[in-house]
């Protein structure tokens, strides 16, 4: 067991994957000489050389598309899109090629591509650097979407993703990079199909992913002081969604609060809420609640940005209003 940061865990997985499989290579803006916009790939250029750590020009559409082509033709590329906000430039390649080539070709082609992107707000980076669009990706059939929240998952999920035959999109919340945690370096590829119960509880299910998992855990601590035992479910995999885990949780606790940074309207939380309604309607004591982003482009000023995002107090307040 080792204590390291989330970014070091990702780096460790990248290094591991590249060492095990000569087909794996990295492509993205500033992944090489700059050391990575979030310092994830720091040192990898020196270690693996420019053939395998490729700095791309600023052309998200074409270098993501090139990742698709390379994956079609025998390589295992890991493409880094600096932030999910910039991925709007390559959405066409994602949807119309990566996700659909297998289906359109009648099953002849597979695209074993991994794409990593930084997501989310909370660092005063303003409206073109702070959004959470995981739900848009999770909407698309033909790909997987992962949201590692822990250091162990930052490493294990990437190692598993590299072995998948179909495209995998890994959304790393930007505030998680410096977070420390434990990693068992021998554990290898982790699970990329199931959600995880991070904290057990009897009274309410808090369902969430990414950085909000930590807010939910903190909210659970505060609720425990008031005698409310909250169960925190880290969804981990947004597509394919592990419904069984969160439905079992809600069947046990009879109440659910879904938390995500994405804007409330049409957000991914609505999908989870609908599934709860469809499957465990009779077991609910109160309507499913959502704590989401406010309908505003990400503000810059701290107090405004904080107000626009789900906070621990918001989660606690919603639970109290319905349970206590």
């Amino acid at each position: 067991m080792k204590t390291l940061t989330y970014r070091e865990a990702v780096r460790s997985a990248l290094r591991d994957a590249m060492n095990r499989d000569p087909r794996v290579f990295l492509m993205g803006e500033d992944v090489g000489r700059y050391g990575g916009a979030f310092a994830v790939t720091h040192g990898l250029l020196a270690e693996f050389g420019p053939e395998r750590i490729r700095d791309t020009p600023l052309m998200e559409s074409t270098f993501l598309g090139a990742g698709i082509g390379a994956a079609l033709n025998g390589m295992r590329p890991i493409v880094e899109i600096m932030t999910i906000n910039f991925s709007m430039l390559c959405m066409d390649q994602v949807l119309n090629n990566a996700a659909t080539l297998r289906y359109m070709s009648g099953g002849q082609l597979s695209v074993p591509l991994v794409v990593r992107m930084a997501s989310g707000g909370g660092r005063q980076m303003a409206a073109q650097h702070s959004h959470s669009l995981e739900g848009w990706y999770a909407h698309i059939p033909g790909i997987s979407v992962l949201a590692p929240a822990t250091v162990a998952d930052a490493c294990g999920m990437l190692l598993a993703a590299v072995e998948e035959p179909d495209p995998v999109f890994i959304m790393e919340h930007a505030t998680l990079y410096p977070r420390e945690g434990e990693l068992d370096e021998t554990s290898g590829a982790g699970d990329i199909r199931k959600a995880a119960v991070r904290r057990e509880g009897r009274h309410v299910s808090l369902l969430t992913y990414g950085a909000c998992v930590w807010k939910a855990l903190e909210a659970a601590d505060r609720l425990a002081e008031k005698g409310v035992e909250a169960e925190v479910v880290d969804l981990r995999v947004l597509r394919p969604l592990d419904s069984e885990t969160f439905l079992s949780s809600v069947a046990k606790t009879r109440g659910a609060v879904i938390i995500e940074e994405a804007w409330r309207t049409g957000g991914f939380a609505a999908e989870i809420s609908a599934q709860i309604m469809e499957n465990v309607f009779d077991l609910l004591d109160w309507p499913v609640q959502r704590v989401c982003g406010v309908e505003v482009p990400a503000p810059y000023a701290k107090h405004m940005e904080d107000a626009s995002l789900p906070q621990v107090e918001d989660i606690v307040a919603v639970v109290e209003a319905n349970l206590v």
Partner: protein, 389 residues
Amino acid sequence: MAEFRMPVLGADMKAGELVAWLKQPGEPVQKGEVIAEVETDKAVVEIESMYTGVVEKLLIEKGDKVPVGTPLALIQTEGPEEAPPVSRVEPPPERRARPAGRPPPAPAAAGRLRVSPVAQKLADEKAVDLSKVSGSGPGGRIMVQDVEAAIAAAAATPAAAPAAAPAGRSLRMRQSIAAAMSRSHREIPHFYVESVIDLSRAIAWLSEQNARRPVAQRLIYGALLVKAAAVALEKTPELNAVWAEDHVELKPAVHVGVAVALPGGGLVAPAIHDTDKLPLDELMTRFRDLVRRARAGRLRSSELTDPTITVTSLGEAGAESVFGLIYPPQVALVGFGRLTERPWAVEGRVEVRKVIHASLAGDHRALDGYRGGVYLAELDRLLQEPESL
């Protein structure tokens, strides 16, 4: 003779209007030559003949709007047909309506009524006893229309007007209890067995426990009784069941409904979930919470419909024994009378012991009297070893 039909000229085209014929009967036409002008939603388009030959007959006129595929003209072709006369394509498979979504899984809770929130709301407002309403919805769920039907049926047989009708909530409570008790009496063939249990050891043990506790966390003997009543079911699980029309359904989990008297009169018996598995402190905490919320009128509907067996206790005041009515669809009711001191035979001598009368009401459709006796014996045995609870 070839039939020239209205062509599909675009993905969305459903029909076209003839603007002009550019060929007349008797005129020769080549394949690919423009034969007419047709207007679609998007534009006026020149259409080309698919056949080489002589125009025999025009079948539609200028201004006619016809669906795609309608014959427009007959062309006398030379030699074999250019195109196959009729399509050999089988129609694609029929699309069936998708199934409505997977049926909801069986609920984990025991004895829980399936009732829609809106039906529950109406039932609460109108004091309808849901246990006697049958559900017409999926999985036997009680829907609004079922509750409305029950209300209508009740209205059809009006009760004698009460002398002085107590207002609001109390009235509804009374009505609800009346309905439930009447049904119980009407439908359930009750039998009763009773035991007198020596609680001296238990009480002594409790005092010792409580001496070490702050006041707020002291246990009352009622908690012991409820716990023992729950654990004893292990021996006779058939008491932890519901009667479903014509058969018993055993329930996997034990949720004891504890009868709580309400200040304005009336009684509710909300569930303590998994009673047999709770440590006494926890049970005590839950019980206190239930009492508080029951008296404030803030119980959850699940708590009211979840009990698998009910325990009623008369506490300090009240009679020595109670023979109660079972809450349908449960099949048993445990009743405890007042804790009293009575002479007790101990190895041939007479001593004074703290004793309690414990009764079991059983639904004779589901249970036999013998089993009731076994249950009470087990209850007694457990209460002699309070530390095990």
